[in-house]
Homo-oligomer: 225 residues x 2
């Protein structure tokens, strides 16, 4: 993938160490010095990889004792990064359907005035960017994010951000966004977003969820004609 930095290679190496063979949950993995020798790099870099592994919930470091396997990285999750962009994107949409539709419903039911202002602001910025024919992926995501925020449930945000990080990784890996926005589509995208925002404004949960589902379905169609 992007293994330019040594720490990335070390990360992958340790993941393979865990996933590939006998290390199961609770097992101790080799000491930092051993890993450094194993991969032919310095302990500094091994530590960086371990920090990320711990941050990803795969390992857990115990001071004075060692690093331990906390959750085995699933083979399918690893395979995800090797899945072709299109099917990965489709899979992501499937989750967004259930997650964001419900988020839109809750947002409609709970939004504060301040939330509504943030959503309107994001919508306006999206409109401006869309009309200028520039890539608007960031603005699009920001609007969705503001809607998720309005649920006042941080757990929704956690799940949403895990997904978008994924999407962005896919995008970075090569999906051409600009291709999928012929001029006549821009108006449709805006109308879809406006329908969602209007439903949230009207505090109509069912309509918001429906509008979000519609919007995501249309978006998926645009990706796979």
């Amino acid at each position: 993938m992007s293994g330019r930095r040594l720490a990335d290679q070390a990360y992958s190496g340790i993941v393979e160490l865990i996933s590939g063979q006998k290390l199961s949950v609770g097992d101790r993995l080799p000491s930092e010095v051993s890993l450094a020798e194993m991969f032919g790099i310095s302990r500094t870099i091994v530590r960086e990889a371990l920090v990320r592994l711990a941050s990803d919930g795969i390992t857990e470091a115990r001071r004075g004792a060692g690093s331990y396997v906390k959750n085995r990285p699933s083979d399918r999750l690893i395979a995800y990064t090797q899945t072709d962009n299109l099917s990965a994107t489709i899979g992501t949409y499937e989750v967004r359907f259930v997650l964001e539709a419900e988020a839109a419903r809750l947002a409609a039911m709970r939004r504060s005035a301040a939330d509504m202002a943030s959503i309107d602001d994001a919508l306006q910025k999206l409109r401006a960017t869309l009309l200028s024919s520039l890539p608007a992926h960031a603005e699009d995501m920001e609007l969705h994010r503001q809607i998720v925020l309005a649920t006042t449930n941080p757990a929704f945000l956690v799940a949403f951000e895990a997904l978008t990080e994924d999407v962005e990784q896919i995008m970075r890996a090569g999906v051409d966004i600009s291709r999928m926005r012929p001029p006549e589509v821009i108006g449709a995208m805006m109308r879809e977003h406006e329908a969602i925002v209007d439903a949230i404004r009207a505090q109509d949960g069912d309509s918001a969820a429906l509008a979000m589902r519609w919007h995501l379905a249309e978006g998926r169609k645009r990706l796979m004609p």
Copy 2:
């Protein structure tokens, strides 16, 4: 919270630096040496914090140039770590309702024979642990995980794991699990899980989703009597 390690403090400090003041997306944050002096720690530790920030998608490091803000951490996400355990758990359940219910439906529709075997295996291990009156949180989560895996959609797993990591962090922070498992509850938990698994076995999506919703609702009740 968990600020025992210096890198955690540095992480929070940098987040506050971005979130608290004028740093917006695209801005460069102070150099590693500056940050080290700022927090009174070594550059090594600053780097660990930056590695995690980059891993979390908040910053982006450009060799020779500096670290840049990629996504602003939302204030509510920060507040999440300071939310009391109970309401955070309830918030998580709200998301699990929509996410896992749909995962159960898809699992029922798509499961392979191998998936079914993994689910049965996880169920059996959960039963054994429950009957021995030991903490069974790990086994419980593993069963849910296997169900999510059976969707054959890695994006579901991404969202699910982001949530469970969160849940475990909450658990680690002090929720007493054993308290909430008086003997008469064990049978109920098993019946709920069996209902889900049976529906998946019968490839009945609606029943699976319903059983999962019921199970999560009961679980939430057990947490907040």
